[in-house]
Symmetry: C2
Subunit: 352 residues, 2 copies
Amino acid sequence: MKLILLGCGAVNLSLLEILLARRTELSVRYGLQPKIAAVVDSRGAAMSPDGLDIKELIRVKKSKGSVAQTTPSGRADVNALDVISEVDADMVVEAIPTNLRTGEPSLSYVKRALEAGRNVVTANKGPLALTADLLPSLANKRGLFFRFSGAVGGGTPILDLAARCSLGDRIVGFQGVFNGTTNYILSELEAGLSFEAALRAAKERGYAEADPLIDIRGLDSASKLVILSNAVFGTRMKLKNVKVKGIRGVTKAKVANAAAKGRVIRLIGSGGIAPAVAPQEIPRESPLAVNSAMNAVTFELERSGSITISGKGAGGKETAGALLRDILTIHAKLGGFYPARDETAPRVATVV
Amino acid sequence: MKLILLGCGAVNLSLLEILLARRTELSVRYGLQPKIAAVVDSRGAAMSPDGLDIKELIRVKKSKGSVAQTTPSGRADVNALDVISEVDADMVVEAIPTNLRTGEPSLSYVKRALEAGRNVVTANKGPLALTADLLPSLANKRGLFFRFSGAVGGGTPILDLAARCSLGDRIVGFQGVFNGTTNYILSELEAGLSFEAALRAAKERGYAEADPLIDIRGLDSASKLVILSNAVFGTRMKLKNVKVKGIRGVTKAKVANAAAKGRVIRLIGSGGIAPAVAPQEIPRESPLAVNSAMNAVTFELERSGSITISGKGAGGKETAGALLRDILTIHAKLGGFYPARDETAPRVATVV
């Protein structure tokens, strides 16, 4: 399977590392033999019709800052749109930093990829949250696969779980903690830090986005809420349809006041007819009262009560795992030998 | 799709009710038009090559106690094995009460179904926990689908989540609360009840199995642990390979003592090299410290930290949802139109 990687930051660099580390297992167990036909980063690209040397790509990116420095396959004078159209590939894997105002350049890249007949895997919230069903519809129309499980929950398979739950039952609503940065800040407020100190700590740990206002104002949460809502309810919502309130008004005093009542404050996104993101007091024993940079979502099912999933909501390695999950799923649908006839069956025969 | 239902207790009766209630949606959204070719219960069967009237089946079962009373399709003089072999069907849906000593009669029924070329969906722990990879291997050999997501966690898609997690990362271990009855009893001990009173309460609420010792001795948990371990690690473990300690020795005093340290006692099943079930003290804020009859499992991933799922672990409606999930999954693999090209895409066009 020939891949084009768009972006080579924490996520796609981790993906390359995983593809290298699990090479034998991915080949033997799933029949996946990825060839990296091109990698595009902000300063150029590396391209090879025979597949790039993954080890060398990682080395060059880490030591020189851009895959364009790879010899002999690196080039600085490339137009990403041309690479997407012209390099022979089965799939485009997009992991460019999210832009929640325009969705660009990812939006144009994903569109181009689908128009060029490439299947697409993305971890990017922006294009999906801003354009509702534009991209999934385009993919469906062209008979292509388009998956984005890394766009909600990082490595935690929230969208996948929603899809499974929807098969056996009907999801009538959901509530979740969709942003790790704000959850970390709220947890630190509980520990007695001021808002400013908590934000600083989040930045030091690398949790905050490049622009932390995206997190703090609730826009990151809202974008994930939109993507999950559209997937679950078949709506065509956009980010602007969500009523959003961030955590800027949450003080140490408010958190302490809640704690005195056995409650915690969390930034909760609620899916349904009136999607909203706002800080809410919830019982300390609620499954959504996760700590630190965790995410959690509770799905309310028509017949089966509620089901909750929690896990890390971000991180390069984690999100790269989501990309790989999507790559393997599409690979199987294109004829690869995963899933086995029964994906829950023992895999004795194929364990490496 | 022609189905044979084995068993018509809480689970398969709920399945019939769901198939009836969601009939239009299942047809429009997933292309599933189930025909019930036969239903077998402990007193006979109802059979019709054109498909039985689901509404009538439910009415007769509820009012007369057996589908054998259906006219004109009911018969008391049937051999279930003959029905499995001889009634024309694509799939056998098995939900007979679990027997953890012999796995019978379910084991023979599932074997016969696979030998007769039927795909199989089951919610039954016994046959799987006692025979390791026998049934999945048989299915693989015959090119048939065999799914059993209802066997672990009832309606909570624990096996499905494990499969998704295994794609993007490697599960290196897991711990879980796999039995609702014992968890309910432990929760009630915390509330101050004696063991006997808590057990009585569990029975009154319908949580305890026909033989509550299966729960209390940890055998129900151990059987689910075996099934999940084999699925996750590709092992060929059987129930007898698990070191099991039940909750009979957990007293109100021990629970109170743990509570004084901010901890709770839960019956934890641990997957890995040395699979074991035993009561353990865990922090109150652990994601496994679920209350009442809930189940929860935490998967430890090599690269992505831990992911936890929690939900109701049993119940007729819930487990019927798991059966339906498996039926739809197999239906899709046999050429039905779910999953759509992208199962996470908006389903606008097909929402009923």
